[in-house]
Amino acid sequence: MMHTPPSIELALQGRTTGAVVIGASAGGVNALMSILPALPRGFPIPVIVVLHVMSNRPNQLVEVFQQRMAIPVREAGDKEEVIPGTLYFAPAGYHLLLEHDRSFSLSCDAPLHYARPAIDITMETAADAYGAALAGVLLTGANEDGAAGLAAIGRAGGLTVVQEPRQAQVDVMPLHAIRARQPDLVLPLEEIRRLLLMLENR
């Protein structure tokens, strides 16, 4: 029998997705720019992005992305309910956590992998809150953050997706994630964009 890589269609069969968590570091803004603006108005799922940024200084991520997006873009706020069809960014200088009641909380705990926000913390707590109804996507980056978080999503039965390392601007983060636990899908950005549009929340 010929071995064919699992298709997006196959990986999505029977899945219901309550939230998407995307992690990225070096090269992340460009990568996000090529997948997120495709999300249409009325997109049924919240998208939560953890991007490594300089802490201690405000960044313009929300403004920059809102200009190109049809769905609302916000910085995730402490104790705020997660609203479907919204793109959230983790605030600089804080870890972003998901609670069981599907609200956000923030913490000032020490940086993890030199990062605050750390992708691992958001992904692990989101896996706890959403279980199998979570999709995790890890993109370009020069750091091992995200590998443990994506593995936690996989163990909880969620969908795990890693950017094709050869296409990533920096392949360290995707390679770490693939080594930590074989993801469901390894895809180039165009395919990740297509995948996001196929997610359903029935």
Binding site: N56, K79, E124, T125
Partner: protein
Amino acid sequence: MSEEAGPSDVDIEVRILMEAIFLKYSYDFRDYTGASQKRRVLHAMTEMGCSTVSQLQSRVLHEPAAFSQLLQYLTIPVTEMFRDPSYFVSLREHVLPVLSTYPSLKIWVAGCSTGEEVFSLAILLKEEGLLERSIIYATDINPQSLEKAKKGVFPLENMRTYTANYQAAGGQHAFSDYYTAAYSAALFDRSLVENVTFADHSLATDSVFAETQFISCRNVMIYFKKKLQERALGLFHDSLCHRGFLGLGSKESIDFSSYGPRFEVLAKRDRVFRKR
């Protein structure tokens, strides 16, 4: 349709652990936010050589020393001097000019951890000529943190960041004027904390102890569930004098609290409020 994941065994164990701690030691962590509490407990569990949270609970219940060890993980002190420098700029602009009209001042730093915020505020008050007539209450639930705070010794390697923060906060001197470097430590000027009372106080279980003109409580309430946030804000509201000031962490909000309408916003981005 989306279904929530129910409580896992670990979630149940963590909850029972918090009940046990409350019953045995009167420390109330039951209304702390779940996700970060669970992370801290699991970290402590590993570091303390336990294989389950139940095992950790058994040790904590039977060995008081194990509880004080766990307490260090549950209240991980992570703070820096002049964190969010613009907060201090706002205090200089909006708060200190009013405070300077009082003959004597009482200031409460709630959740002072290892003291970085206390020393930062003391420096600010000194530069505005208010330190000598101020009494600062610096409170925390972690006795080991309070001991560290009293010493005023911080890692020398942090001074570069703190100096940059201090300058961005509108500092008027050389930051190194305030400490003596010795080996890998920076010993801060004792006179800064001459009028500071370091005390054990819990926002979860204790009550108001003094009337104050200004309360700074930053990045403490993010670890609280709404119910406990409400309790803490109630204490602050009751402690503050008429038209007293409240400073919170840069991502903390009173918008959704019943106390929201009882404060006016002085500096939205820097989270500086004034009691109506």
